[in-house]
Amino acid sequence: MSKVAYYPGCSGQSTSLEYDRSTRAVCAAVGLELVDVPDWSCCGSSPAHTVNHVLSAALSARNLDLAHSLGVDVLATPCPSCLTNLRNAAVEMEDEGFRGQVNALLDRPYVGRVDPQSVLQVLVEQVGVDEVARRVTRPLTGLRVACYYGCIMNRPPERMRFDDHENPMAMDRLMEAAGAEVALFPLKVECCGASFGVPRGDIVARLSGKLLDAARGLGVDAIVTACPLCQMNLDLRQGQINAALHEHFRIPVFYYTQLLGLALDVPRSELGLDRLCVDPRLALGKIKAPAPVR
Amino acid sequence: MSASDSRELRIVGFLCNWCSYGGADTAGVARFSQPTDLRIIRVPCSGRIDPLFIVRALINGADGVLVSGCHPRDCHYAEGNFYARRRLETLKQFLSATGIDPRRFEYTWVSASEGQRWQHVVTEFTRRIHELGPAPTMSHVSDGAWFDAAAPAAAGQGCPCHG
């Protein structure tokens, strides 16, 4: 059984609690052990790196150190935004001068030598799509989805070093393994509006609206995401988007771990499907042999 | 310390006519400025360079010796640089045994079109030699002992072309 450190990220405690829960459940179901980083703190997210790179790295450094103390090589996080901060910090602190500046902000000098990866990467590379497929007991036959990766899961490629940066396929392959029909979504890595939801809702309406429009054009039953911010923009704000654009989108937006959980027959209570804002029942009804409600 | 604002040191370069000498020309034509310490001796092929030339230069007080030829597989004479590589690699290993800092000798491959690369090679090697400083006077070692120690390399011992 593979073992990795696990960093849920702040949103996993609130807005995307269901992502955190379903991630844990899916990893357990496929034999991937997640060890929580003890007393982890916020990575600083976008606000920190837009203010200062040293501050941002310092906020990440504490977590990398804590993960390092667990004696693992990989630190997995479900959130691409956390991933970007942690990865940037880990890479940039290889530079001695930069590390010195970061250390000046920390209580103890940074020692962390862990490789931050997304849970998605760990699932695909350490567990493997075939292994996931092997464990699928309730395939999602009949469900047609579009996979949306968000802008920073794979970019820039030299930094993220995972999957194709223009047409990533990791989630597509997992969804196929889960038995879903996957439509090729051409805007897989287009930005949804990121963290401008609060200060500039108009931006999110336009950018996320474009994504919803493209998904609707493909005739999919649902969008599948791997990012708490993207999911929130597309799901929680779908009503706002409809109002702003005079549209009538009604596309449920799942976390890939929720659908994977269904296919792996994880108890529904762990998947938090009831926490989605756009009602997913119509989409789930498309599944030919629906999972029994527990 | 920058190489350009300190005292010039003595660096001898052995360059093959077809690639590296041409590369140095290309760098000149493009006006890629370089430290002035290096003096270039033109030979037809890096395979013409006898390790004894290098040892002689170092004994005579050169602070550094740089050899440059065509990239492997690009030799104008088909395989001269392969012979050169084997000989020079052997020489490198023997140099430290003679008391010469092997960092004072380097070999590299630069093609006739690689002016920028040549500039880089010269600049870096000159910087290295300036970091090492002037070569120490080797009066405590006898001249003959040097040649004795370097002889295996010069004779190409461990080198297939010498059987």
């Binding site: 054009g217 | 006519n17 006006r31 270039i40 013409r48 006898d50 002689r56 005579n60 006739a112 079109s113």
Partner: protein
């Protein structure tokens, strides 16, 4: 010896940062220097004349010129001293321009360095020997590698000049890229109408031997005497019988493989003649797709062939020819645009290359000259052209400009309007490069007369929407992002070195640059020569070129070949290895190491084995000199003593402590 030293100002090129007068004064004090002076332009007519005069006046028997690189003017000055009555190898050059004045700004240091380089040259010259070249016969035949338009031109010019030509082409027919084009810029001439007759001439010329489906296996020898082995690949058809009737093509049941001549836009039968104007017009079987070759049954073509020329057992054939000169005209290949994932990497069938578009435009192409898009055969009304795909882009390691894409894109935009009058073309470009005669007027016509909308900016991504493709780019002149929904997207893919160029270069000892294009001998003055005597370049193998430039180079290379082959004999370079028999112990190590087989063991009159150099075969690399444990074989003009003299000039020997011990 009485040595004369001439320090060249080269205008201000050298004199600007080297005190040439001081260098001359210093040189005058060197051993055996009888005369030293500075001169404005040593290579000019008066400059050379001054050297000749000085030789006579001061009874000089050796000359040093300190000026530019010997790779440039060593032959010039050797002729000068010869005119003055000195053996041309009593001449040395000190490179105080490329290696001194052009790379260092400190005049004082430059001057010292120049003095030392002159000192080195003097010390070497003191140990020079007179050398007399040998003469050898020239094989009056030329090999042309590559049957594109450059190779065709070179072959025809050489043949018309009276020389025998062997033309080797990798593909089944000659014609190269040009044969695939519909029209040519800036005249909109029909490409095959211009090229076709030349191809026929090649096929019919009594002096030209054509080998297609053939590649160079090996090359040995030297200028005037190359031995070349050509691998003629098995074509499974006896071409001495095949009439090119094409019956076999019609009946072949295997026709699923993409047609390479049509750039994969359609399929081709396994036995095929690539296009109607093919030269030679003979059928060949693709063994990878032929059912008979793969599964051992079928043989329909053999049954139907009226002249019974199918031979499933045919093997590759090796042909050896002796030639005196070689013209390399291997052309270019297209950049693999799949390196741009943002353009779909092949996921969208209506994103095609410019060469595929040529085939769609061509009347002999898969659509009979009607523009139909690959996905559904519909006629596109909105066509977007994207330039610089694989050109001027460091991120894909193609920082160079491919040169001709701007022009062919303008041509394709014009032809699009001709074919589909109610169409609209958009051209995304970074800069328009149209410096040829009539070229800029041509691109202006595309915009002004044909209404092509030129947009200055790169395209960031292409994505499908409905049955169209959304092209998202920038218009940097308007300062913003632009989008256009296109029916068809044409990528102006750049040129890169032909596949296999590097391997061929190794065989020919022609060096490729870092992108695989062959390096010419001098970028200005020797554009078709290479550093290997007798091997010449023509066309895009040296760098991206359009048709007129390729044709021009084909003729230029032919002129060089004709000049070379006009001589019955050539002089061999006397800078070769020489054995001192008294020191040679006959160990044979030099024989083993010589890459050219130029050394053989002979017996002296006492029956002892001794090495002997075949002077016309020796290339003068000097590997043997280093190998010889006895110092018995020395490379003339680069002897151990000469090189050590240079070393000693730079690093004067120190007091020798205990040397005797």
């Amino acid at each position: 010896m009485r040595i004369g030293v001439f320090i060249c100002h080269c205008g201000s090129n050298i004199a600007g940062t080297v005190d040439v007068v001081a260098v001359a004064q210093a040189a005058a004090k060197f051993p055996e220097v009888a005369y030293a002076t500075d001169t404005m332009y040593a290579c000019s007519e008066p400059g050379q004349e001054a050297i000749v005069q000085a030789v006579k006046e001061h009874q000089l028997d050796g000359v040093v010129v300190a000026s530019c690189t010997p790779r440039m003017h060593e032959p010039t000055f050797r002729r000068t001293v010869e005119r003055a009555g000195i053996n041309r190898y009593f001449f040395e050059m000190a490179n105080i321009r490329e290696h001194v004045s052009w790379i260092g700004k400190n005049a004082e240091r430059n001057t010292v360095k120049a003095i030392e380089l002159v000192r080195m040259a003097v010390e070497k010259l003191r140990r020079n020997r007179p050398l007399i070249p040998k003469r050898f016969d020239v094989v009056k035949r030329v090999l042309v590698i590559g049957g594109g338009v450059a190779g065709i031109q070179a072959a025809l010019d050489c043949a018309d000049g009276g020389q025998e030509v062997v033309l080797v082409e990798r593909e089944q027919s000659i014609g190269g890229k040009m044969a695939k084009l519909d029209k040519t810029f800036p005249t909109i001439d029909c490409s095959s109408c211009v090229l076709g007759p030349k191809m026929v001439d090649v096929g019919q010329h009594p002096k030209i031997t054509l080998h297609t489906l053939a590649e160079i296996e090996s090359v040995s020898g030297y200028v005037g005497n190359f031995q070349v082995t050509i691998r003629k690949k098995a074509r499974f058809v006896d071409w001495s019988k095949c009439t090119g009737c094409g019956l076999c093509m019609e009946k072949c049941p295997s026709r699923k493989a993409p047609d390479p001549f049509n750039e994969g836009l359609c399929t081709a039968p396994s036995i095929n003649i690539p296009f109607p104007q093919a030269i030679p017009k003979k059928a060949a079987i693709n063994p990878d797709t032929c059912i008979m070759k793969q599964k051992g049954k079928c043989g329909l073509c053999a049954k139907i062939c009226p002249v019974k020329c199918i031979d499933f057992d045919q093997q590759d054939e090796l042909v050896t020819v002796d030639v005196g000169a070689i013209v390399v005209a291997t052309g270019y290949d297209l950049f693999d645009w799949h390196k741009y994932p943002q353009y779909g990497q092949g996921r969208y069938p209506d994103v095609i290359t410019s060469l595929q578009y040529e085939r769609l435009l061509s009347a002999s192409g898969p659509t009979g000259g009607h523009i139909k898009r690959p996905s559904d055969g519909k006629e596109p009304k909105t066509v977007v052209f994207i330039q610089c795909v694989g050109s001027r882009d460091r991120s894909v390691d193609r920082p160079y400009c491919s040169g001709f894409c701007c022009m062919y894109t303008a041509k394709q935009a014009i032809l699009t309007k001709d074919h589909i009058p109610d169409s609209q073309s958009y051209v995304f470009y970074m800069d328009i490069r149209s410096p040829g005669k009539g070229y800029d007027e041509f691109t202006r016509r595309a915009m002004e007369e044909y209404g092509a909308q030129y947009v200055r900016g790169r395209v960031s991504m292409i994505y499908p929407k409905g049955d169209q493709l959304v092209v998202r780019g920038a218009d940097t002149l308007a300062g913003t992002q632009v989008e256009v929904a296109a029916d068809l997207v044409v990528l102006a893919v750049g040129a890169e070195a032909a596949r296999g160029a590097v391997t061929l270069g190794e065989k020919l000892r022609v060096v490729p640059d870092q992108y695989g294009f062959f390096v010419e001998s001098h970028p200005k003055l020797k554009p078709v020569e290479t550093n290997t005597a007798g091997v010449f370049l023509a066309g895009a193998c040296q760098g991206p070129k359009d048709i007129p430039a390729s044709v021009g180079q084909g003729s230029a290379a032919a002129a060089k070949v004709l000049a070379l082959l006009s001589k019955d004999q050539l002089e061999s370079d006397p800078q070769v290895s020489r054995v001192t028999p008294a020191r040679c112990v006959g160990c044979g190590k030099c024989v083993q190491t010589c890459p050219f087989g130029a050394i053989k063991l002979v017996e002296d009159r006492f029956g002892n084995p001794k090495a002997e150099v075949v002077e016309t075969v020796c290339q003068g690399c000097g590997i043997c000199t280093v190998t010889c444990p006895q110092g018995a074989i020395q490379l003339e003009h680069f002897t151990d003593n000469q090189i050590l003299a240079e070393v000693n000039a730079l690093c004067p020997p120190r007091i020798r402590v205990n040397y005797a011990s």
